[in-house]
Structure formats: C-alpha cells, structure tokens
C-alpha cells in the first residue's frame, strides 16, 4: 500500500501550513516580542530591544504572583473536585433504572453551553445578591445574601468551572464504567469484593485510562478558562479572580503594552508545560502503583 514516492503524503501539507500559521509562527513571534519594548498607544516611544526588562517588570509585580497562585488553585481544586464528582456521578448513573438514559443525556448539558452564557446566568439570575435567587434563598433562611462575585470571587469562579466541567468528566468516566467487562465484576463479587473494595481495587483501576483522558482534557481546558472570568468578575476585585489568560489579555487590551503582554504569555506557556508535565509524572506514578 505504501510506497516511498507516494504523493498522498502531500495531503498533510495544507493542515500543517494552516496550523503552523495560526499557532507556531505567532508563538515564536510572541517570544521575540517579549524582549522588545513597544507600547501601541505611544508610537512616539518607538520599538526598541528591551532585553529581559519585560520579564523583570512582571516578576517584580506582586499581582503577577497572585495571578499565578489563582491559576494553580483553580486548576488543582477544579481538577480534583471535577474528577471526584465525575466518578461519583458516573457510578450513580451506571445502574439501570427507569429514566437513567434521559438523566445521562440531560446531565451533559452544561458542557455544551457557552462560557459567556454560563457566566451571565450565574451572575444574574442565580447569585445576584439583590435580585437573584441568592437573595430570595438567603431571605427565606434569614441570612444576609452572600456577595459571591465580590468577596468570594475566586471561589465562585471555581464553582462555575466545576459546574460546567463535571459533566465532561462524568461523560468520559461513565463510558469507561459502561465498557467494563461484566465478567470481571461478577468474578470479583464471587470472590467477595463488595462496596469500597470493589470500587478501589477493581473498578477504578479498570477505568484508569478514562480518568486519565478526562483529567488531561479537563486540565488543558481549565487552564484556558477566559470567557467565564471576562463576563463575571473581569478578574476582580483587584486581581483576586484573575488567571493567567485573563491577566495577559488585560496587559494587551487595556495597557496596550506588547512586550509585557508577550512576556506574560511566555510565562503562561512555560507554567502550562510545567503543570502538564508534573501532572503526567503524577499520573504515571499513580498508574505504576496500581499495576
């Protein structure tokens, strides 16, 4: 079937070129930009080589560390809770009962809803402290309504991420549970494994790959969250609910500082790579323990 001078190899070129133009070349330019000084709004200052001064500037800004910490917190907390809930809901809906198919189908909805809508619904109808459901429920309980997007902005962002992404984890984990050979479960039951034992020693190891896929894709997407923050808190109060993507966006589109924005973006990519690598190391260690 395959020959050396096969012309069908060329079919890969259009995809390579488009993806290269949109991702690779701009990323290389971003790295270059991070070493120049360029403020779009001040053309009089011109463009000049800046060495590491953009990096020095962002690394000496206390806000930046808070943003990094926020990003890490969002990822760690979001990923952990989504995984645990995904497994729990997977187990809950892996039984046969009337209407279970409908529940499974309905439960995937939040994953398919755009971030912009998730954000505004929670910010207004649900959690608005003076007109939302938040107000009425607090009132009924005789409590002061909680200012979710003010005092607890970061926590609330996490809550929204968990609301949106748990269904995705559920989807993947559920399919793992469904594809599990029933003979294995049967023989484990005959051997006396029940409840927790069955779950920890048989079921979870068997869906390890599915959990891996869910966590990897979840990780990438939770690191990238932007629209949710944009429409709810705008990263505030202060930078208390900013993550790296939002902070970098602000550096470019509020301050119009190309060098700084690029430097933040480079640090974001570096941190993303470190987190992804750490995560893989962690998953592999866990996996080898289970074998």
């Amino acid at each position: 079937m395959t020959t050396k001078g096969d012309k069908s190899k060329l079919l890969i070129l259009p995809a390579l070129i488009v993806v290269g133009i949109v991702t690779q070349i701009p990323f290389i330019l971003t790295i270059i930009y991070s070493f120049i000084s360029w403020n779009v709004k001040r053309p009089d200052l011109g463009i000049s080589f800046a060495g590491f001064s953009n990096y020095k500037k962002i690394l000496s800004d206390g806000q930046f560390y808070q943003v990094i910490l926020n990003s890490l917190l969002i990822v760690v907390v979001g990923l952990t809770i989504c995984t645990v809930l995904g497994i729990l809901f997977g187990l809950m809906l892996n039984r046969e009962f009337k209407g279970v198919n409908l529940l499974r189908t309905l439960f995937v909805i939040p994953y398919f809803v755009m971030e912009a809508v998730v954000g505004i619904i929670w910010k207004t109808l649900m959690l608005n402290p003076s007109l939302g459901l938040n107000y009425y429920i607090s009132n009924a309980l005789g409590l002061e309504p909680i200012d979710f997007f003010g005092k607890y902005a970061l926590l609330t962002i996490m809550l929204l991420i968990i609301w949106q992404w748990t269904p995705f984890f559920f989807l993947i984990i559920m399919s793992g549970l469904q594809n599990m050979p029933s003979e294995i479960l049967e023989s484990a039951r005959i051997d006396g494994a029940t409840g927790w034992k069955l779950l920890l020693h048989i079921q979870l190891p068997l869906i390890r790959d599915h959990i891996n896929v869910a966590m990897t894709l979840g990780l990438i997407n939770i690191l990238k969250v932007f629209g949710l923050i944009y429409v709810t808190t705008s990263g505030g109060p202060g930078s208390s609910s900013s993550n790296l993507p939002y902070y970098s966006y602000k550096a470019l589109f509020y301050d119009w500082n190309v060098g700084t924005a690029a430097a933040i973006a480079v640090v974001t990519v570096a941190l993303t790579l470190i987190v992804v690598q750490r995560f893989y190391g962690f998953m592999n260690k866990n996996n080898s323990k289970n074998i």
Binding site: I12, T30, R95, G99, T105, P110, Y136, W163, G227
Partner: protein, 270 residues
C-alpha cells in the same frame, strides 16, 4: 427489602441531583418566558409571554447570528477537509515520523490562545483583517484541524487492513479506495468530529472578543454585552441565552457518545 429501599433511594437521589445541577439552565429557560417586571421573583407560576423573544429578535441579533453561522460553517468545512486529508496521510501514506507529526498537532491543543494573540492581533491589524469573518475562520481552523486529526486518525486506524488490500487487488486506485471504501466507513466518525468542531467554534469566546469589534462579532460576544449594556433586562437576556445554547445542546444530545469514543479511543488501551 433494605437493598431494594437502598436502590430506590439512590434512584431518587440521582433524579434530584441531576435536576438541581441543571437548575440554572432550567431557570434561564423559564425566565425567558416571564415579563421583565416579574423575572426576578423566583415563582414557578406565571403567565408565559413571548415578549422577550420578540424584543430580542432584532436585526442586530440576526447580524450576530449570521456571523456565528458563517464563521462556524466556514471553520467546520475547512477543518474537516484539511483534517481528514491529514489524518489519512498520517495513517496511510507512509510519512516518516508520522507519529511525531501527529503529536505535534496534538500539542498545539495545549497552547493557550493568549500565547499567540499578541502577534496575531498586530498582524491582523496590519493586513486590515481585524473584525473580519475570514480572520476568525482562520483562527478557529487552527484549533479545529488538530481536533479533527486527533479524532479521525483513530477512525482511519480502525479500518481493517484486509478491506483495503482487497480493494487494491481489485484494481481500485488510491483515490478510488479513499472515496469509495474508506470514506463510507469513517463517515460517521468524521461527522461526529465535525460536530464537535462546530460546538467548540460556536462557543468560542477568546478570539471572538479580541479579534472582532462590530462587523464580525459572534453570539458569545453578543451575550457578554448583556452584562455591560443591558445588565438588568434579565428576561431578554434569558431569551437570548436560551436561543444561543439550543443548537450546541441538541448536537450534544445526539452525538455525545461518539465524542467520547473519538476522544478516548486513541488513548485507552483495550
């Protein structure tokens, strides 16, 4: 007896949890039929009205809708064609380092959009492509192609070698084998991958909000404007929200099983 009770309890719990989890969407849906003056009060009994929908469906809304439709279809078609060709080449044309190229495509999925937006914005501005549909199609295609390749490679690999050999022996040309034998076999896989690209593009926010202004802005941008411009018209906001989420949700209903298959098959052993 107690086992049975336990089971019923679990079933009831499942219903309650799923309904509570979906409550925000349900609440938005209900609110879209309430008069603006009643919308804040969380009552379940109200006289339904279509006023909000009438008020929202304006030429302005149609402009955003038409932008979304054109950009999404453009992205899906380009991503699907280029992605399927690339996936085919990766699996069947004996490219050296096919694996490395495959992984390169996958790693681009990891790249956050902020990593590329600065030069892209500047280049688009220089090329006078800011706020054009073409620019958004190009940017979204950069994300759509890797997704297509990721899922479709799996489907191409699943085609039994014997079928392809038989076709070749029967004198079928490479192009003939591709169009007559392979495409029908991977058709469903391609469609479900393309639908995932559809949903991702329809919902895409970052590029839409940074690379457009007024001419080519999409529905997610339109929704985000409710927060700033019409913060207190919750009825209209709910009506608009309901309309823009309905398509991706329906796609999700019908295809989530094949999404999961496409996403997991490559990395799940056995």
């Amino acid at each position: 007896m107690s086992r049975r009770l336990n089971r019923n309890l679990l079933t009831t719990m499942a219903y309650v949890i799923v309904i509570l989890w979906l409550f925000p969407m349900l609440y938005m849906f209900l609110s879209s039929f309430k008069f603006e003056s009643q919308v804040a009060v969380p009552s379940l009994t109200f006289t339904p009205t279509l006023d909000n929908y009438r008020a929202v469906v304006t030429p302005e809304f149609f402009k955003y809708l038409s932008n979304s439709v054109q950009i999404t279809f453009g992205t899906v078609i380009v991503s699907a064609v280029l992605g399927v060709l690339a996936a085919y080449a990766l699996v069947y044309s004996g490219i050296k380092k096919a694996n490395s190229i495959y992984f390169w495509f996958i790693t681009t999925i990891f790249l956050p959009a902020v990593a590329v937006i600065t030069p892209i914005y500047i280049l688009l501005a220089k090329a006078h492509l800011l706020d054009t549909k073409l620019a958004l199609i190009l940017l979204n295609t950069g994300a759509g192609i890797p997704l297509m390749i990721w899922m479709c490679t799996t489907y191409f690999k699943e085609i039994p070698g014997e079928i392809i050999e038989a076709a070749t022996i029967d004198g079928c040309s490479k192009a003939g084998t591709f169009f007559k034998i392979m495409l029908p076999l991977v058709k469903n896989g391609i469609i479900s991958s393309a639908l995932l690209v559809f949903v991702v593009t329809w919902n895409e926010f970052f590029f839409a909000v940074t690379a457009t202004a007024t001419q080519s802005a999409t529905l997610p941008v339109y929704m985000s404007k409710f927060m700033t411009q019409q913060g207190f018209f919750w009825g209209k906001m709910s009506a608009a929200g309901t309309m823009v989420v309905i398509v991706p949700i329906l796609i999700g209903f019908f295809t989530y099983k094949s999404f999961v298959k496409g996403l997991t098959a490559g990395s799940v052993k056995g």
